[in-house]
Amino acid sequence: MNTASGFIKALESGTKHLFIKRFTLRYPEQKLKFVGDGYQFDPKKGVGIAGLRGRHILFHDKCTGCQLCSIACEGIAEAIAMVKVDEQWKQNKKSIMPQIDYGKCVFCGLCVDACPFYALYMTNDYELSSYTKQHLIYTPSQLAIKPIDNGDVELKIGSRGATHG
């Protein structure tokens, strides 16, 4: 009797599941919406601002070429290299800026914590795949581009279960 009721309950639970909405994100058509514009850090307060840790964004008008981000990456991924840029900025006498190799980066965001000049943040851009390793190396001019944020789907809980969108 106990065995029969166990089977019946299991079947009932499975049947109930037929009427629950499908819990799938149809990825290339649907994209998730994230909190804020990505992970940022406030060096004055010493705490970060919550957000997705995706590709970096570099503000050329604030970067001083101090290499602190590169030093922070030592022993973690060693993905950041300081390269010469053609631009002339008053605060950046040496004209060097970080270049990030996303084949190595682990997206821990400790470089963002290290930047004292509000010059390096992270963004919601996570689609970084490429056909060659060379294309994964982002130069300072590529890092300056603000990504297009087109995610609009959020996880919702309704009467027929949790769904995306």
Partner: protein
């Protein structure tokens, strides 16, 4: 006649060459692994007499990464990203005890709000880990529905972790001195609604999996680890609690905020595979209660992180801290010689302690009972090898 004699002589010679069957020949040696016997690279060698296992030798070490040695070449902060790699889906707990040990060494305390955020991440990651583990348990026993459901419902927790920490796994969120960032707006409401929904789903798991007569028949009374043996073998976490020892480090040695949190230690006295499979599930339920309580008691505002120099020097000395992770006690012993890098870091994980019980449990049982016993030990090979 002569030809017959020759034949008899020939037969006698041949019979001399025949090697008689020895006891050893009855046994079949079976190598389980090292390519993913379920999860992670790990091998155990089994000798079978018919359908019964008579000898087991475990052979871990295929995914050894040298985490302890790597710690000696990096400073206290840059250790964080590589230390969470062994258990990417329980990374909050593996960095929790490390951060506690470093804070103990330096002699600082984390701000109150930071302690709450740490505990919330720790509990969310415990749920995350256990649901993943449960999904694999399902597929181990051929129950593919139980593989799909937790794998999908894990999304509820992953979504919360992504909002809070910025990553679904490997958060790099706990850091010596506190946590990296404060929680975003509307996190509390979102967290409450998703955790409540998850609890509703857990009831369905009970109907389809734990109360399913098929699952019960395969696990009940299988792989008995008595209370005395469990203590002698030194198993921890859910395996110890399934053997009737109510030992939870959150209760016995409360760290951070856990002494203010009211929760029950889940334990069972049946000592079998079913108990070991059921205790982590009960822990998930308890974690849901703890998260609700933490969100309720959390101070409205305040600091979350004590600011430290990025190349802080630890004073000469030692520290030892442990937390209750998804797999049991996870402890760090850090020795410092006064420089900005640790002199020695010893990581002791629950996985490695639990797998030592495997030869003990498998000998004498049938081969068909091997999957439910092996996976009930709550073992994660990569964490055990470090």
């Amino acid at each position: 006649m002569s030809s017959l004699d020759e034949k008899i002589d020939e037969a006698k010679k041949l019979s001399m060459q025949i090697v008689k069957e020895s006891d050893e020949d009855k046994l079949m040696t079976l190598s389980v692994g090292p390519q993913h016997p379920g999860t992670g690279h790990f091998r155990f060698i089994i000798k079978l007499d018919g359908d019964y296992i008579v000898y087991v030798n475990i052979d871990p070490g295929y995914v050894h990464r040298g985490e302890e040695k790597m710690c000696e070449y990096r400073n206290y902060f840059t250790n964080i990203p590589h230390l969470e790699r062994p258990v990417i889906h329980d990374s909050a707990n593996i960095t929790y005890s490390y951060s506690l040990a470093v804070e103990d060494l330096i002699g600082i305390t984390v701000p109150r709000r930071g302690q709450f955020l740490r505990a919330i991440t720790s509990e969310l990651d415990r749920i995350n880990y256990t649901l993943y583990w449960l999904a694999i348990y399902g597929i181990f026993l051929g129950h593919s529905t139980m593989f799909m459901w937790p794998a999908a419902d894990r999304e509820l927790v992953l979504d919360l972790l992504e909002r809070l920490t910025g990553h679904r796994i490997t958060h790099a969120f706990n850091i010596p001195g506190g946590v990296r960032n404060d929680m975003p707006n509307n996190f509390k409401e979102k967290c409450l609604s998703q955790i409540n929904y998850l609890e509703k789903r857990l009831k369905e798991y009970e109907h389809i999996f734990y109360n399913n007569p098929l699952f019960r028949q395969r696990t009940e009374g299988v792989g008995i680890l008595s209370k005395e043996d469990a203590i002698k073998l030194g198993v921890t976490g859910s395996v110890l609690r399934a053997s009737g020892v109510p030992y939870d480090i959150r209760k016995v040695e409360p760290y951070d905020i856990y002494n203010e949190i009211d929760f029950n230690v889940q334990y069972m006295k049946t000592c079998d595979s079913f108990a070991r499979a059921y205790i982590p599930f009960l822990d998930v339920r308890e974690s849901c209660h703890i998260i609700r309580e933490l969100l309720d008691k959390m101070p409205e505002s305040g600091d979350v992180r004590e600011k430290l120099l990025s190349n802080i020097k630890g004073p000469p000395g030692e520290s030892f801290k442990r937390v209750e992770s998804g797999r049991g006690a996870l402890s760090y012993h850090i020795v410092s010689d006064g420089t900005s890098r640790p002199y020695r870091v010893k990581i002791s994980t629950g996985s490695f302690r639990n797998i030592l019980a495997l030869p003990f449990l498998l000998v004498g049982s049938m081969l068909g009972d091997m999957p439910p016993i092996y996976w009930s030990l709550n073992y994660w090979p990569i964490e055990a090898d470090r």
